[in-house]
Symmetry: C2
Amino acid sequence: MDLIDKKILYLLQSNARMSNANIAREIKLAPSVTLSRVRKLEEQGIITGYEAKLNHHELGLDMLAFVLIQVTGDKDIESLLIAIPGVQEVHNVAGDDCYLIKIRTRNTESLSKLLKEKVRGESISTKTIIVLTTLKETSKLTF
Amino acid sequence: MDLIDKKILYLLQSNARMSNANIAREIKLAPSVTLSRVRKLEEQGIITGYEAKLNHHELGLDMLAFVLIQVTGDKDIESLLIAIPGVQEVHNVAGDDCYLIKIRTRNTESLSKLLKEKVRGESISTKTIIVLTTLKETSKLTF
DNA sequence: CAGAAAACAGAATAAAATTCTATTATTAAG
DNA sequence: CTTAATAATAGAATTTTATTCTGTTTTCTG
């Protein structure tokens, strides 16, 4: 990975739908070479995918919350958490057999209902962090 | 927004670089119509962007942490937090003038150094949640 | 310095994006 | 129910892009 690859990654992180021709113009290389570099980054697993980002508000998902979930060591709650609609992230975190999930719902009611129905029964305790406003939210990385 | 638009959003969330021609084939509409629908979704602000997702491991960013930061009401810590390299999310959360950030670093040392140098001085307290393994991480939404 | 490997540019062609026009629904008003 | 207006669509034409191929240049290695 050289400077050119880093520029490509920067561009594709900013706009994943940028055409190969435009990337080529930006980095001042021929389209053929540019394409093979992008393909290589994909094959090497450095680029893992391309996602469209949607406006949660417009989709009626106004609620964002992080929930810390403590479980007993023997429960398999992982596949359950992953499958919950609205759950965008599931992390296993250090200390006390804990999971941290990031979840989007329509409102506080739908969140509370979801936690009650799907999570509470499988966990020792939950601690919910309600997001009021989001100031930054991206998967972009600088390196 | 009808069912066709939802299909388009589903496809672009799965692969933002899918060609318009392929989207058209999937939803069984002419490319011209498909393109105008995608453009409309962009103009309406329903699609807010397209991001390439990168492999953190490959980029040497093995550490992921969430940090809860408590501040006094009068401090402007927001622009500071947003500008920290590796910070992917900054949320203002309910209760006790708190921020929650999601941050990627090279290792525990670089995390601790970052918090010490940039955050501690501006905050009353910080609470760091270290991620051991990530089971799911996407911005994809089903609706 | 010589040879091999990788990276590159540029041309050719296949495919896609984009625009345009005409046709077909859909909707709203009378 | 009919008609006019609006929106959605298909399909053709054209521009642009993606992709492959060939030959050259550069870079690395011994």
